[in-house]
């Protein structure tokens, strides 16, 4: 087996969780961290849940393994978790197999499962992308409740700035593998510093009453992995790019509360 992931090399100078260095951990050490201190939910909950076990038994399994609970205690807590994420009939859902649930309900089961381990960090990778807007709003609400009530930090990965606006305080913008801008979300929305961030904000269709606000596409296309350029990855699509941008990846500079990797940031001095 040589899947690309298994051949991939991950390098990090440092990954710290609550002050503890994780980057040197071996597989065994990581297993202790995953699912206990850090949990993750995915875009497609149907592939993350085991089809042959009921929703309740899968949450119980996590509790018994991660928190060494007895069957009885685990069953009780699993039920409470299902209720907490908003199921009006937790007992019924407890005994339900994943295929009997809708996509949104499966995602809520995943959130319940993440909740019971009380992680310090939850990575939510496009958790609402496969859901209808009405269900999406429910999942957003439950994630916010998890953060508020258990103090869980959430790294929300999304392509939908509307979802980010509802969930996030701090926002990081990535383009082709690199972080191009970081700022408090409201700041990012009002005053984007990186030309890509501004382009992204202008390209989003929004519901304007009566007449739609015109959207503006970013010209060009996203380079594929094999053709990432040497300099700034956005240079080929950027109206502000010059020779310097095409030669070197720009260093990160701070402008007010924003950090931006750009030689010619918007509203900057240069």
């Amino acid at each position: 087996m040589s899947r690309p992931e298994s051949r991939a090399v991950t390098r990090a100078d440092s990954i710290r969780l609550a002050g503890r260095e994780l980057s040197g951990l071996d597989a065994r050490g990581w297993r202790q961290v995953r699912g206990k201190e850090m949990a993750m939910i995915f875009q497609e909950p149907s592939t993350a849940l085991d089809p042959v076990f009921t929703a309740g038994s899968q949450i119980m399994w996590v509790l018994r393994r991660r928190r060494a609970q007895t069957r009885k205690a685990a069953a009780g807590e699993a039920l409470r978790a299902l209720e907490a994420v908003g199921f009006p009939d937790p007992e019924e859902v407890f005994n339900t197999y994943p295929h009997q649930l809708s996509g949104g309900m499966r995602q809520l089961v995943m959130i319940a499962m993440a909740m019971v381990v009380r992680p310090q960090v939850l990575i939510a990778d496009e958790p609402t992308t496969a859901l209808d807007v009405t269900t999406q709003s429910l999942v957003i609400e439950k994630l916010a409740a998890l953060q508020r009530e258990q103090g869980t930090a959430i790294l929300l990965v999304t392509h939908d700035l509307g979802v980010a606006a509802r969930c996030c305080r701090q926002a990081l913008v990535m383009y082709c593998g690199r972080l191009v801008e970081e700022a408090p979300y409201a700041q990012l929305f009002r005053e984007p510093r990186h030309p890509y961030t501004r382009g992204l904000l202008r390209a989003i269709p929004r519901i304007g009453v009566g007449h739609p606000a015109a959207i503006e596409a970013i010209p060009g296309r996203i380079p594929s992995l094999s053709e990432w350029p040497v300099g700034c990855h956005f240079a080929a699509r950027c109206e502000r790019a010059d020779d310097e941008c095409r030669k070197h990846f720009p260093p990160t500079v701070e402008i007010g509360a924003s950090r931006v990797a750009c030689y010619h940031p918007l509203g900057g001095s240069s």
Partner: protein, 326 residues
């Protein structure tokens, strides 16, 4: 019904489609599942009709029924006056020249082992055999219409970006000089920056080549961006329809309002107060209004029969299937 309207490019009348229930091995008595029920609407020449609804609402089934890729159980599909439901498969071939479809995933729609040039020749073989010499210039002209360079002709689909591939899919649809293109979630898989490019393309094809679109999407913001006329689907029915300004500016059906309220705006200062009725309910009512099980304004009579479509204001196209507006 008034019949003084000029003939539409496409007129769908009381279309219905059911699928047999997937019975288990031994149970065959479950009732069939209704995917599309009693749907009527019209699309004029060079109009973009946006069809919006959540997954499973029957949007795609409706698109396929119009093309007769699925034969509807009842109703009529009048395309330029001809009822496609009563047209034989053989005769449909000629009609399909004027009626094209573009799908969500161009990688699945384009053969991975054929170059773009080979894929583009397929509709020409079908509709313009004998004019081989004209194929190449025709393809190049169409590529230009969709904003692609002729250099991509010898490439394979996987050598193109997702946006370029979707442009190829539109180019292939445009080759036959269609009157109507059904775009089924055609921008849903694209990055927003590229999605905006494809939406511009759709508008340009409409403006410059007078193509009408049935634009199917689950994304209300996308529909708000391109559509002239909007239909909101829920469980197989168009529960509300009207001009974009009417449906988005003055939503009437409780479902439309719920949908609109649930779209998060990227501006953090825009209030987000999603209306939510029993979104997690797994039980649907069998009779009455399709939305009755989730509707916050439900009345006893809503559960008796499906409300008929009523015009909100006389003389407008804004129609809603809801007893609140009787």
């Amino acid at each position: 019904m008034l019949s003084t309207q000029p003939p539409a490019l496409l007129q769908v009348k009381r279309l219905g489609k059911q699928f047999p229930a997937r019975g288990g091995l031994f149970s065959t008595r479950r009732p069939p599942r209704t995917a599309v029920e009693d749907v009527s609407f019209r699309i004029e020449k060079a109009q973009i009709y946006g069809l919006v609804g959540e997954s499973g609402s029957g949007k795609s089934t409706l698109g396929r029924c119009i093309l007769q890729l699925l034969r509807p159980d009842h109703g009529q599909v009048l395309f330029q006056g001809q009822d496609l439901c009563a047209t034989s498969s053989r005769e449909l071939r000629a009609v399909r020249q004027k009626l094209q479809i573009v799908f969500q995933d161009p990688l699945a729609a384009l053969s991975p082992r054929r170059t773009i040039w080979q894929s583009l020749q397929e509709p020409l073989e079908q509709f313009e055999p004998g004019h081989r010499d004209a194929w190449r210039p025709r393809c190049e002209a169409v590529l230009e219409q969709v904003g692609l360079d002729r250099e991509i002709l010898p490439r394979l689909p996987q050598q193109l970006s997702s946006g370029q591939r979707q442009r190829v899919a539109f180019a292939r649809a445009m080759l036959t000089r269609p009157e109507l293109i059904i775009a089924d979630e055609a921008v849903s898989a694209l990055d927003v920056s590229v999605q905006a490019q494809i939406l511009d393309l759709v508008k340009a094809l409409r403006d410059e080549h007078c193509v009408a679109f049935l634009f199917i999407s689950h994304d209300l913001a996308v529909i708000a961006q391109v559509a002239d006329q909007v239909g909101v689907m829920f469980r197989g029915r168009i529960v509300e329809s009207g001009t974009r300004a009417a449906v988005f500016g003055n939503p009437a059906h409780p479902y439309t309002r719920e949908l609109l309220s649930a779209v998060p705006d990227p501006d953090p200062e825009v209030a987000f107060r999603p209306l939510r009725s029993g979104g997690l309910s797994r039980h649907a009512g069998v009779r009455g209004c399709v939305f009755a099980g989730r509707c916050p304004h439900v009345m006893d009579r809503c559960r008796l029969a499906q409300p008929p479509a009523v015009a909100l204001e006389p003389g407008t196209t804004h129609r809603v299937e809801c007893l609140l507006y009787e």
